[in-house]
């Protein structure tokens, strides 16, 4: 029964700290299925009211960009300074801007 002996799959855990906030990645854990992953995540990651909602997702199901920080994938946003409010010169006399 080597299939049954195999390690439980790894789940990534995301917790919403309170209403109004995004779910944030907090870590990972092993579980046999998604339901037990949620239950275990409660015990491992929210013992002190750290959350009001938990998401779990199989680590294997995540697709990520390449790890390199100098990845050309992020280059297009680097040279578009006009996307930032500070790019525009407005006289100090103009209120509420």
């Amino acid at each position: 029964m080597s299939e049954i002996r195999a390690e439980w799959p790894l789940y990534e855990v995301f917790v919403r700290g309170k209403r109004g906030l995004n779910h944030v990645h907090v870590g990972s854990l092993h579980a046999a299925d998604p339901e037990t992953a949620v239950r275990n995540a409660r015990d491992v990651y929210t013992r002190r009211n750290e959350g009001v909602s938990i998401w779990v997702v199989r680590s294997a199901d995540i697709t990520a960009s390449s790890p390199d920080e100098k990845d050309p994938m992020f280059a297009p946003s680097g040279d578009k300074v006009y996307r930032h409010p500070t790019f525009y010169e407005i006289p100090d006399t103009v209120p509420h801007m």
Partner: protein
């Protein structure tokens, strides 16, 4: 996790330069970054040892759960021991980001290939030990762990931040327990002193061998894995603990312990490093018992793991066929 593959892999020198650059800027290395083999191996050894310590560390205190003197103390001790399990899990999860599997970690703990802190190889002989462990052992752990929140490996630092938030409760419940006993009978006060006498030196050993005998410290510090030397942290712990002992009314069992005006720090005696090596090598009072207990828990739990896996497989099949019917 799968990755969108970059077109061309950068060469080894460029990778090393990038790694060095991140370390120099005091930024964090993240799991999928390139890292030197030595850096990875050092992290796996250190984080695994740390994780195993949390897991084995449940045993000395767990020993007293059924005999806690009140419901209040029992609830506190249960919560504390459960936290230690959580700490072990945060750290195993961080170790796994380096490419080791959980089963491999468990195996290496059971075979002795990976170590855990020598402190947990000492027995807990009275309920005062629960207090002393919280005060001195968790206290020493806090000293060690607070600087590790800034360690250069992201997942390790994040695990340490979670852990440090919880450790303060551990230390304070221990100190409060001892304070309560010190306000009790003579016999209770003696029990506290006897416990402190047993744990003081092993607690000092938790910081590891003296700097002169710790050849890897310099490299670990250059990599930003460690932030302070063993001796620095030991000194900090002694300086923090002495006034706490005074308030408590116990004596720390070191005749050489005194304030050094010139250094602005306490002088103190040398722990018995031969004893330390003996315990690290597996010949402490409880080494065999601790590992045997962990092995039994792991083996006795096998049917639960297998049943859960079988249930998950069965549910997946049932779920798929039900979906088919609905269509």
């Amino acid at each position: 996790m799968s990755t969108v593959t970059p077109e061309a892999a950068p060469d080894a020198e460029a990778l090393q330069a990038q790694f060095d650059d991140v370390i120099a800027r005091n930024e964090r290395i993240e799991p999928r970054d390139w890292m030197p083999d030595g850096y990875r191996a050092t992290l796996v050894r250190q984080i695994a040892q740390h994780a195993h310590s949390e897991i084995i560390g449940m045993q000395p205190e767990g020993n007293w759960i059924t005999r806690a003197p009140s419901l209040r103390r029992k609830a506190i001790l249960l919560a504390k021991v459960q936290d230690e399990a959580g700490h072990g899990l945060y750290l195993y999860s961080a170790t796994e980001t380096l490419g080791t599997s959980r089963d491999e970690l468990t195996e290496k703990l059971l075979s002795g290939a990976q170590k855990y802190s020598s402190i947990f190889n000492y027995p807990t002989l009275s309920y005062a030990d629960v207090g002393t462990i919280g005060w001195l052992v968790d206290g020493a752990a806090i000293c060690n762990q607070v600087p590790l929140c800034r360690t250069s490996y992201g997942p390790y630092g994040r695990a340490m931040i979670r852990i440090c938030k919880e450790e303060s409760f551990h230390q304070r419940q221990g100190y409060e327990l001892l304070m309560t006993m010190m306000q009790g009978t003579d016999a209770q006060r003696e029990m506290v002193q006897e416990s402190v006498d047993r744990f003081w030196w092993p607690a000092l050993m938790m910081f590891g061998p003296p700097d002169a005998d710790s050849p890897n410290t310099a490299r670990s510090m250059a990599w930003g894995i460690k932030r302070n030397t063993n001796d620095d942290l030991r000194q900090r712990f002694v300086d923090m603990t002495v006034p706490q002992a005074q308030v408590l009314g116990v004596t720390l069992p070191d005749p050489q312990l005194r304030w050094n005006e010139e250094r602005g720090a306490h002088d103190f005696g040398e722990p018995d490093w031969e004893e330390f090596m003996r315990v690290v090598k597996g010949n402490g009072p409880c080494n065999a018992q601790r590992v045997a207990h962990r092995r039994r828990a792991w083996e006795d739990g096998a049917w639960v793991r297998e049943a859960a896996t079988a249930y998950a497989a069965r549910s997946a099949v049932l779920g798929a066929s039900r979906e088919g019917e609905e269509r």
